[in-house]
Amino acid sequence: MKNVLLIIPAYNEEKNIKTTVDHVLSHSPGAAYQLDYIVVNDGSRDGTGAVCRREGIRCLPLVQNLGIGGAVQTGYLYALQNGYDIAVQFDGDGQHDIASLDALIEPILQGEVDFTVGSRFVDGTSDFRSTFMRRLGIRYLSLLIRIVSGGRIKDPTSGYRAANRKAIAFLASNYPADYPEPESIVALLKKGFRLREVQVNMFERAAGKSSISFWKSIYYMFKVSLAILCTSMQRKEKS
């Protein structure tokens, strides 16, 4: 029996966090694994911590705000310290569909790959529809990753991902600080981890604002491109 941990980073998600956790708990895993979750409260200024205490939600509060990268990395550290076999990143804002979890972790349970990326675009069955500009940006990042590392990932910005023990140990000590998803994919590929993209379902955001506004997206593209190029220049690990 494998132990699976859902890492749910939450920053100012008082409106969404209970729904998200209820949604998670509604999922009954098969006989193949046991499911746990941990909400990482990234120094929220709203009532996220209070909601978690009131509702009895399992919550690991950071003593100060670290940003999404630092929060998710704390989840990986927790998974590592507590000996979980698989760690899954799951957004606290209700975008990710827990029904896709089995599909996401299946290749890892089978020992076929080390890391899976939950993608909205593998076969187009996801409910998620995004704007043209956003798709263009994702296409561009996907192409950039393919050029520098040879890996074909159609949805590199997806935050719905799963890692096995080996990948957990790597990510616990190597995780980018901001906009970490595409960068960490390149790092994993460079280090010789086996990655696979899996079709998952995602919803539109339930409440609150997306963490990336229009003007930030310019900075986002620039920073992530630079990070991908930087990471790609790291030496390839001999496996």
Binding site: N3, L6, V21, V24, L25, H27, S28, P29, Q34, L35, D36, Y37, E55, G56, I57, R58, L60, P61, L62, V63, Q64, L66, G70, Q73, T74, L77, Y78, Q81, A177
Partner: protein, 126 residues
Amino acid sequence: MSLHLRIAMIVLAVGVMVIIFRSVNKKHMRMQYSLVWILISVALLLVAIFPILAQWLCLLLGIETPSNLIFLLGILALLLLNFTQTGIISKQSEQIKTLTQALSLHQYAQEKEETHGDEKSGNKEG
């Protein structure tokens, strides 16, 4: 180099040295980080007292006036200082992140030990 510039440089250099030594003594600044400032002010002082040093360097580098040389060296020194400080800041951000994570994980583990699972858990215990 005009006498005015030389006097200004001497005053500046001495002022900087006084401030640096006081800061180090009051533990506002680490000795390690103060060295570079002391070196800069000593260099400034030397050039102000012996302008021939600057003139000689100017001849060597093909710079027309000593004041230009001083500006150039000043800008280069500041760039270098800024560069090393960016490195220090980055290293410290990483250290602060690691500390925050270690402390948060530790506090959580301790709290869990004290209250023992009346939390809404995953399907593992439920």
